[in-house]
């Protein structure tokens, strides 16, 4: 953290998994705060208690983000995998009562996107100031469940309209933003604001990543803070320079007049969908592999059977998936 401050980092996010699983999380927040970081905690709220919130506040936390998977007990339990709705509500209220800025994050997909208005009502009743209605992006486990999670165009339009209607009718202090899944965009998003431009992720074991999901790209070597300084890693490591800027690009990105705007999109997404981390992000309609996205979208327009089970993240499924990936 000291090295990151020297590099000029001002914001720190304690994230996971679940950051509060670490017993020293509050101590880390305290140290970060003393170093001059603006401290953000991104949590499921499951390990939160009134006491823990007080300790976090005392340590200097400035912002807490809590995520919900449904606007009611049943939906939240179904997609969150835990019966945690009431606890999340109580902890959200407690964070607000302790006057810690709070962001609520609603994780949207085709099976709960119709709850947008309920979500917003709930957030307003709780007294939240900032709400993010964030559609699932299709990485990792969401990708394995994409066909069951990607909303149809109509669902998206309805949800955005519902958000706008809510904004018009409730002129309060609450700021709500709607983040559409990038599958419906014509151009990709920059890879975490640009690979090696803004963000630096350090995992609990000390590995340093340009974005939280970079480990899914095979063939990359991840530097570690135990062996090298953060400054060296940021400036000189092969990893951070690999996809920095535009010189690594292949066609159609290389000669594209828009290449500076999206920097070729997300490297993880390119790798996941095409098997090549140097490929144009297939979200872009100039990508020769854009048909992957078109097919997924086409499939999302038809009604799905409710009975199709989701493939949840748990130990059993993780092992199965590891075997499947090894065999392929």
């Amino acid at each position: 953290m000291k090295e990151a401050r020297k590099l000029g980092a001002v914001q720190i996010g304690f994230s996971g998994g679940e950051p509060l699983v670490r017993k020293d999380c509050v101590e880390l927040i305290g140290t970060a705060n003393d170093l001059g970081f603006y401290c953000n905690l991104i949590t499921s709220a499951l390990p939160l208690t009134e006491k823990k919130i007080e300790e976090c506040k005392e340590a200097g936390i400035k912002h807490i983000q809590i995520s919900f998977q449904g606007s009611d007990k049943k939906t939240n339990a179904k997609f969150g995998g835990t019966d945690s709705f009431e606890h999340k509500l109580a902890m959200t209220k407690a964070v607000i009562d302790h006057e810690i800025p709070l962001g609520l994050n609603f994780v949207l997909h085709r099976q709960n996107i119709h709850q947008v208005t309920d979500f917003l009502m709930m957030a307003e009743n709780l007294g939240a100031e900032f709400v993010e209605l964030a559609n699932t992006q299709y990485y990792a486990w969401a990708l394995h469940n994409r066909d069951k999670l990607l909303p149809s165009q109509q669902q998206l339009v309805e949800a955005e309209n519902a958000t706008n209607r809510f904004r018009d009718q409730h002129k309060g202090n609450m700021n709500a933003i709607f983040v559409a899944p990038d599958y419906y965009e014509k151009r990709p998003k920059k890879c975490s604001a640009g690979w090696g431009t803004t963000f630096i992720t350090v995992t609990p074991e000390g590995d340093v990543l340009p974005c939280q999901s970079a480990k899914i790209i095979t063939g990359l070597e991840f530097p570690n803070v135990k062996n090298d300084s953060l400054n060296n890693i940021w400036e000189k490591s092969d990893l951070f320079n690999r996809f920095r800027g535009t010189s690594w690009m292949t066609e159609p990105c290389k000669s594209c007049p828009e290449k500076e705007q999206d920097l070729g999109g997300c490297r993880c997404q390119a790798f996941m969908l095409t098997g090549d981390a140097y490929a144009t992000d297939p979200i872009c309609d100039k990508s020769p592999q854009h048909d992957i996205i078109e097919k997924a979208i086409e499939s999302a327009q038809t009604d799905k059977e409710e009975s199709q089970p989701l493939y949840f993240r748990n130990t059993q499924n993780s092992k199965k998936l590891a075997v499947m990936e090894e065999n392929s």
Binding site: R5, K6, L7, G8, V10, Q11, G13, G36, Y38, N40, K62, H63, E99, I100, P101, G103, F130
Partner: protein, 93 residues
């Protein structure tokens, strides 16, 4: 919203105003973002770390910058902007 004719105000306690060595400038930090402050903004906001009234603030600034002719109106304009951005909040008694 702050009523600058009556309310005392101060920098939002949930924000962080500080000098950054690496960037060589003052910044105001807020959830997931920051704003780099101009020298003028720093002069004003550093005086708002404790509860202050608009008239006191202007007097204070005018004393340090006697030649600034449009100071009162410039400060008023900045305060309105700062309140809208939640950089400043009403000081509770």
């Amino acid at each position: 919203m702050i009523d600058f004719d009556t309310n005392k105000f101060h920098v939002n306690p949930n924000y962080r105003l500080q000098f950054e060595e690496a960037q060589q400038c003052h910044v105001l930090l807020y959830p997931e973002g920051l704003v780099k402050l101009s020298d003028t903004a720093v002069e004003i906001l550093t005086r708002c770390q404790k509860p202050i009234h608009k008239l006191t603030l202007i007097e204070d600034l005018q004393r340090d910058y006697p030649d600034a002719e449009t100071l009162a109106s410039d400060v008023s304009e900045f305060l309105e902007h700062a309140a809208k951005e939640s950089w400043l909040v009403i000081a509770e008694d």
